[in-house]
Amino acid sequence: MTRFLIRRVFQGLIVMFLVTLIVYLLFYLGDPHDIARRLAGRQATPDQVQAEYVKLGLNRPLFSQYGHFLWRLLHGDLGANFVNGVKVTTVVKAAAPITLSLGLGASVIWLVLGVSTGIYSSIHPRSVADRTFTALALFFYSIPVFVLGLSLLYLFFYQLTVHGHAWFPASNYVGLTDDPFQWARHLILPWITLALISAAAYTRLSRTSMLEVLGEDYIRTARAKGLSERRVIFRHALRSALTPVVTQFGIDVGVVLGGAILTESVFGLPGLGYEAVHAINDQNLPLIIGIVIIAAGAVILANIVVDMMYAVLDPRVRL
């Protein structure tokens, strides 16, 4: 286990290093002079532009710049915004809890929703409920995040508010520590949006996986021992049926970050995705690079955790 973990973390670091290299090169292949010119202001003289250029360290060789960037990154420093000089880490610290709240809450909902409907479908295959879940899964799998989000806003924010029930707000974020109730109230529609879209694949995945496991010999053995059906399903079958679900979840961490960009944009939540979109409008490269690197780190970390979950879930897996 320890050896596996060390090897896995090492691989993760290599991928992480490649991500920083590629992202950095990609972005600085754009014209750095252009950035200096913009920062120096409209009426700047060529000297002022050149001064700005040197101040940003853009006159040094690319490798030296990258080395400097990497060195600071190792010290937890992602540099400062081009636009207003605010440190990237400050922006990220403010935005990350929002994306985390959105992602964690949504994943709890979609895992519960997806896995429970999947289990129900596998115990009652071809029932009316199974077919309904299938149709719903297909529908939510196909609907774009922003169409679902705006539709929910129309129905549950606008229509309810118009009829005197202002239960759900349209946008904004309230910190969990400030007011837990308001936190949940502001996040419920974004959670449902992100969860419904993602749950679809889990319904199908857990159904397939459960059906397969329920056909195995050890399940027959468990039933033959006289265990209750509940115990057979939840203690014996579910554990190994969850393996592909966990794999999918690891892959989806990256997808959630993508979905979070759209969800945050629809619901006006100032999370990482929202900041990234705004950074692009401001042509704020350090912030974009910072967010991309943090997102990639989250995906790599999630995949390591997922690999370890296999051993916890399925006693047959040896790492």
Partner: protein, 327 residues
């Protein structure tokens, strides 16, 4: 059950009577050799859901091609801003669907029916081209990585890891920013740039097992070049998984294109685009639900039809695996 299958036969096939009532039962009729593709095609034709969605897809393609006809019939230009009271309210708000504007108007008094019809073009053009480009790149790289192995494989496998670990939507919008301008082809290239890794990973896995098979060895002992072995001997064996993967990729590409447009980094206006229209509708959805509904329903219908059809294709090519959705 029997009724359902007969319906399915009727839907996909003109009058051919099949004696097999249950697809699970062996066919007792004349035994003749059929290629795997013919078998898959046959199974697909008997899949009612897939055939209905195919008709929907054809209808959407027809709408895209015939978009000028919509403009001609309604007499409304795609970018013409109508100012009459039947197009915009005195306050300048979009007008609800009426006999003049069947799908209503947008905030600039443009006909949503005509714009939605034209919007199908961008969606399909990008969706189909991006899928094709992704498949070409992914299959080629997968073939080379799997066939040659060694350091080429190690290098490509790491690159695939890197691409799959970066949230593509984030990097895609960042790339657009670096490039400074956007066009139809840049959107297609960006979708392909992040999509090929998934295809390459699957094809690579297939090739690794195929390259050890006897027919590859036979080709090699006959003196075939590596290129010939890769493209003549191995490629036909990965066509089926490639087709299956592309059916997943197509609706995903359509969604990505719409998402990029929604975030303001898609095909630049004034080209009508569903993602762009939905983004514009964001400010008006409260008073003008039709502004959101016209492009939203069109987009949903497109991805839904492609997903149901793709599910049928997957089932037809590999009946053993469980389908993602139907049945």
């Amino acid at each position: 059950m029997t009724q359902g299958i007969n319906d399915a036969i009727g839907a996909g096939d003109s009058g051919q009577i099949l004696e097999v009532l249950d697809p699970g039962m062996p066919n007792t009729k004349v035994i003749e050799g059929r290629s795997p593709f013919a078998l898959a095609f046959d199974r697909l034709r008997r899949d009612r859901g897939a055939m209905i969605s195919l008709y929907v897809i054809i209808a959407i393609i027809v709408v895209a091609i015939a978009a000028p006809i919509f403009a001609a019939v309604t007499g409304h230009g795609v970018d013409t801003q109508y100012r009459g009271l039947d197009a915009l309210s005195p306050a300048g708000a979009p007008h609800a669907p009426s006999s003049t504007f069947w799908f209503g108007t947008d905030d600039q008094g443009r006909d949503l029916l005509v714009r939605t019809a034209y919007g199908a073009r961008a969606s399909l053009e990008v969706g189909i081209s991006a899928t094709a480009l992704t498949m070409i790149i992914g299959v080629t790289i997968g073939l080379f990585a799997g066939y040659y192995g060694g350091w080429i494989d190690i290098l490509l496998a790491r690159l695939i890891d890197v691409i799959l670990s970066v949230p593509y939507l984030l990097l895609a919008i960042a790339l657009v920013e670096v490039l400074g301008h956007i066009s139809l082809w840049i959107v297609i290239a960006i979708i392909a740039a992040f999509g090929w890794a998934g295809v390459a990973r699957i094809i690579r896995g297939q090739v690794i097992s195929i390259r050890e098979r006897e027919f590859v060895e036979a080709a090699r002992s006959l003196g075939s070049s590596d290129m010939r072995i890769i493209f003549v001997d191995i490629l036909p064996n990965v066509i089926a998984p490639a087709i299956v993967f592309s059916t997943l990729l197509l609706p995903a590409s359509v969604l990505t294109e719409a998402a990029l447009s929604f975030l303001g980094v898609g095909i630049p206006p004034p080209t009508p685009d569903w993602g762009q229209m939905i983004s514009d509708a964001q400010q008006y959805y409260q008073q003008a639900w039709w502004y959101l509904a016209a492009p939203g329903v069109a987009l949903l219908l497109t991805t839904l039809a492609f997903n149901i059809f793709g599910d049928g294709v997957r089932d037809a090519f590999d009946p053993r695996t469980d389908r993602l959705f139907a049945k």
